[in-house]
Subunit: 682 residues, 2 copies
């Protein structure tokens, strides 16, 4: 539909949608930076969605049963900022719009979760939003099945662009959604034929309609500038038994005489002349950032439309039993149950006494077996490595179209999709997800893991097969740099527990975390219990601690994580046998150790003794602990990897790469006797 | 087709295929580790492919015009090892098969490029092989168009499993291949309905046939156990004008009475009893690793079938002009042209004199403008950020179905796909690819970048927008941990050049590299030329060097990379003005600095002066240079990021995060005056 027709047939709609368009144009122009073309193109679709379909109340952005709106094409951030301002979200003031992309504003270049209410997730890295949305929709299905339609019954709407749909992660998202028959998930594809480099046909000829059908979706189309057609498609989508993709045929930069339908409309301000020409084409005679009173009134009325539905919902919620209400409120607030601590303590005690020799992936399963029954918010899964990641516990049941009460997701061979869906599940509220794959495949998932960290979402990544200790699968499957890469990322707790007790402690921290995702790096191979003396206190929460102190004069400190703590303990035995007093420090979580006060850190790692770190990974990052934080001279050395691994049984690899108690003891003696030599580095 | 019918109708074929099956079973059993089900299921398809279609000569594994065979489902490694042994590849002895997955063997758990001839690429991380194959096929098209069908004319065959096709990267691969109409790419999908967790329907309902059609592919089917049907499908595929996917209906663990068609067949040895039962079902009365002489003879004959074709090809090659032959031979050997060095030198000289103030992404374009014309092996591209990455130069032309001579690829919004395709292009031979995206999106591509490093493939990643210096796009787009994550990965040269001269030097190293991929981290923002004095020598090759020495007594050393070298120089001015002798060390490539001898490193970074490092990224890894490699006491500090970035114009961000000349000078003075304080860490 062209502007003239649109204006004639739907003048009020046109004015509302054009308020969105011009706010976007003005803000990008003022910032001299941003993406005007997408908001201009999708304003009609978004206007109809907000006016006629989206269940929301601008006065209550966190109402748990609101429909979710996710702008997967996050570069079009001005679209959502304009909508939030127009519908009356309190924090989205006109000043914020005017300060688009400026320091301290809540209107960042891409929508940032936590900056403004109404932003359900951080988007910008393409394909993340649509995959988060799959998580939102799964969370809704799960909670609806378990807590009833009376209190959980909403849609998840997504605006996605060609970029989102070209990214690989979108394949994982739509495959998962199609298999799970997420009928309340509705994707509005901004079908404008343009990407940054030019026409889509420069790089893609995919028939998106056929592609979504192939994945089990319902596919609809509409003229993305015709409000009646948009409304028709949305109405149809809502009654589908499958997830729905609506191909919205739009014009990028709609109305711009010289930029419409070109890549130039995508990511640059229009410039003063083209701005004016466009506003002339709209017949929009208002100044920058100016929305006529009657148009703003219409929008504000839309912003309050959902109030009645919310009030009815509140009544229904109040009709639940008090214990149900309490449980849901606890889950909304992401507060772990009181029973978590006692459950973990009981397990730790039992383990310290029985001292099993098991892989920490198995330890993790032992923990999950006891905590999943007391945490209904836990939803677990694996990227097709269930039996290897040990993520499925007896009580969960499998989440599927036939069993929505199941709490275990077979995510398929979709590490990136799993991770982004986990982000969405948590963001939905009332769900605390965990998911497993091999540690080396954090490489496939990092795009989503980074967003867990950036948004401050405490999901848990269960990453097993965490070193050469996995053995025969060889170097493609053996992480060596991944611990460093994750430790380097802000706001991730990277746990590498040494035994079942540390694994239980790590899980307790992960499941109580408010703002920090956790990565559990777990062994494939069996490890002895090193924490054989029960302590109520969560020692892992200190990040590092003295596992075994020196007997006699303390001459050496061995630092190790995970499977190498066993080696450190054995090396200590060798050294003590020669009269060399040796302390073993277990360091399951560097980040938490860093958070301790300096006095504690100095107590654990005092100056003086030689220091040797042992980790079956590369040295990168260890200097911080080897040299001391002040860079004070320490005689120190590193036992670990200096490059990629190899394919062979694990014990042979440890020997071949020199990660042994003997090598450790020899290194300590060399240092004590003044024979410092450089460690090979990666 | 069932075993009885197969045996009856095609006894020779059955024996050949069963030799593959039993070798796989025996090897997995001996290793007590591995994946027998896939080789057992795909042996019939592979046997027909090698016998009737694959153009190869086992005696000449590197014949440039051979057909390429890529086992994307790399866990089925015994399939390819068995085929290589049976067809007579010299290095693939029976002993190697017997030593499957053992230390020092060439038969690693997953096929490793460089271990054995006939392994075209390392596979195992799912989806990589099929995407490499797209690169192989693109390289073939490009070279055929430019050098003629007489010398370049071959197919690329892939075996891919459900795992490959579920991974997001496969979406990027098939989208790119479909758009590019790579008609000589043929994918054999092992359609067996089983993944590790169980039936595919647990996690996926995708109609793969429809999906491939949607992406512009030709789709065929066959009974994967019927040699005539397999042959028919392959024959049809070869005459297609589009890439072809053949859905090969197979049974995983074919013939195993109790494991066939189950997930149990996937990743565990059969065990002695089931082995025997399976061999009984085959009617295979031979011992472990035993291949009857007549069967081996048949296979060996297949291994020599291609000799005639190769001889004919050699004649055709000899008929080319000498200069053509020389150029092709140079390109096959991945030797850069002699002109590269002189071209770079001339550019450096000109730049040192004109001293432009440009972003290093622009510097990179200036380099490419002069080197692309002298390096026909260069094929460039970008993941839909051409104008931002500055990767397209005037002479390249766009590679497309209509212009196969073009040397620039619009990869689309497919960072992972681009990277894996680049690996494939290089592995094909005669192509040296580079590709661009934003540095932050190395997160999307790391799975393939790691394989560049592991395989030792010298592709170049042109990663622009390398810090908060990109400004308004905000924290999702601002890398802070990515330099650390890449530096932590073995065998990657991470370059962060300070100006156009260093950028030229980095490109020279990248384009001459034999075994190491390069990441160029380039600025969005303009930077002054700091190398204003022309030096013929490539100083970047030393990794770090004294850019400007102290005047007077050397009291401080400032270390910086990329855009922060400008800040270091300004800080030096401030300090020198106060009489504090200050050296500036530019460190464009840590890895190359690490490779210098200790004497050089000590000369650049002598003990004594205080050290401050400046980098708009997190500190992780810098301790190695701040504390000195022996962990000797240095008064040191770090000016950089301590968490994620923010959305604002770049100059404001630098100020807000305290990455300024003033902050640097103040830190130096604090240290000189004994006021050490801990730097916030991530």
């Amino acid at each position: 539909m062209d502007i003239a027709t649109l204006k004639e047939l739907h003048p009020d709609h046109f004015a509302r949608a054009t308020a969105v368009r011009t706010l976007a144009m003005d803000a990008v122009e003022a910032a001299n930076s941003g993406h005007p073309g997408m908001p201009m193109g999708m304003a009609d679709v978004a206007t109809v969605l907000f006016e006629k379909h989206l269940k929301f109340d601008a006065a209550a952005p966190n109402w748990p049963d609101r429909d979710r709106f996710i702008l997967s094409a996050g570069h079009g951030s001005m679209l959502i900022y304009a909508l939030l301002y127009l519908t009356g979200y309190e924090d989205m003031t006109l000043d914020q719009i005017k300060n688009f992309r400026q320091l301290g504003s809540i209107t960042a270049g891409h929508p940032e979760y936590g900056h403004a209410s109404g932003i359900e997730t951080t988007t910008g890295p393409l394909g993340q939003g649509i995959t988060n949305a799959v998580g939102f929709a799964m969370a809704e299905e799960s909670l609806r099945a378990r807590y009833g339609k009376k209190v959980v019954d909403h849609y998840t709407y997504v605006i996605a662009g060609d970029g989102c749909l070209m990214e690989g992660i979108s394949h994982e998202a739509i495959g998962l959604a199609g298999m799970q028959k997420l009928s309340k998930l509705i994707v509005l594809w901004d079908d404008n034929n343009i990407s940054i480099d030019g026409k889509i046909s420069l790089s893609d000829v995919t028939d998106q309609r056929m592609r979504f059908k192939a994945a089990g979706w319902h596919v609809l189309e509409c003229d993305g500038h015709d409000p009646e057609d948009i409304d028709r498609a949305l109405t149809q989508a809502k009654s589908s038994k499958k997830p729905t993709m609506i191909a919205c045929k739009t014009h990028i930069g709609f109305g711009s005489p010289n930029r419409q339908d070109t890549a130039k409309a995508h990511g640059s301000p229009l410039g003063a002349d083209e701005m004016q020409a466009t506003k002339d084409a709209y017949g929009w005679a208002h100044g920058p950032f100016e929305v006529p009173g009657d148009v703003l009134d219409q929008w504000r009325a839309i912003g309050t439309q959902g109030r009645a539905a919310r009030d009815e919902w509140s009544e229904r919620f109040a009709s639940l039993s008090q214990s149900r209400q309490n449980e849901l409120e606890r889950m909304w607030s992401a507060t772990p149950p009181k029973k978590l601590a006692s459950t973990i303590r009981a397990l730790k005690k039992q383990i310290s006494e029985s001292a099993p020799k098991v892989a920490t992936r198995k330890s993790s399963e032992m923990v999950l077996e006891v905590v999943n029954p007391v945490m209904p918010e836990n939803i677990g899964g694996s990227a097709d490595l269930t039996g290897s990641n040990n993520t499925l516990t007896a009580d969960l049941g499998v989440f599927s179209p036939d069993n929505r009460k199941g709490r275990y997701v077979h995510f398929g061979i979709r590490e990136h999709g799993m991770s982004a869906a986990m982000n969405g599940m948590y963001l939905h509220g009332s769900v605390r997800p965990y998911g497993g794959t091999f540690l080396t495949f954090t490489d496939y998932a990092k795009g989503a893991i980074r967003l867990s960290a950036l948004m401050g979402i405490p999901v848990t990544y269960v990453m097993t097969h965490d070193s050469i200790g996995l053995g025969e699968d060889g170097p493609t499957h053996q992480p060596v740099e991944h611990l460093a890469g994750l430790r380097a990322t802000p706001n991730i707790n990277v746990f590498r527990p040494a035994d079942t007790v540390e694994t239980a402690e790590a899980w307790e921290i992960a499941l109580s975390s408010e703002k920090t995702p956790s990565v559990l790096a777990l062994s494939r191979q069996n490890l002895p219990t090193v924490r054989t003396e029960h302590k109520t206190k969560n020692l892992t929460a200190q990040g590092a601690y003295v596992l075994r102190d020196a007997e006699g004069k303390r001459q050496a400190i061995l630092m190790a994580t995970g499977s190498e703590v066993e080696i450190a303990m054995a090396a200590r035995d060798l050294l003590q046998a020669e009269g060399i007093g040796t302390r073993v420090v277990s360091m399951p979580c560097w980040e938490l150790f860093e958070e301790q006060d300096e006095a504690y850190r100095r107590k654990v790692l005092p100056a003086g003794p030689v220091r040797v770190a042992i980790e079956a990974a590369i040295r990168f990052g260890w200097d911080r602990w080897l040299f001391g934080e002040r860079g004070k001279r320490e005689k120190s050395g590193f036992i670990g990897m200096h490059g990629f691994g190899a394919s062979a049984p694990a014990p042979e690899l440890y020997k071949d790469f020199g990660i042994t108690a003997e090598a450790t003891a020899a290194k300590v003696k060399d240092l004590l006797e003044g024979r410092w030599s450089p460690d090979a580095r990666t």
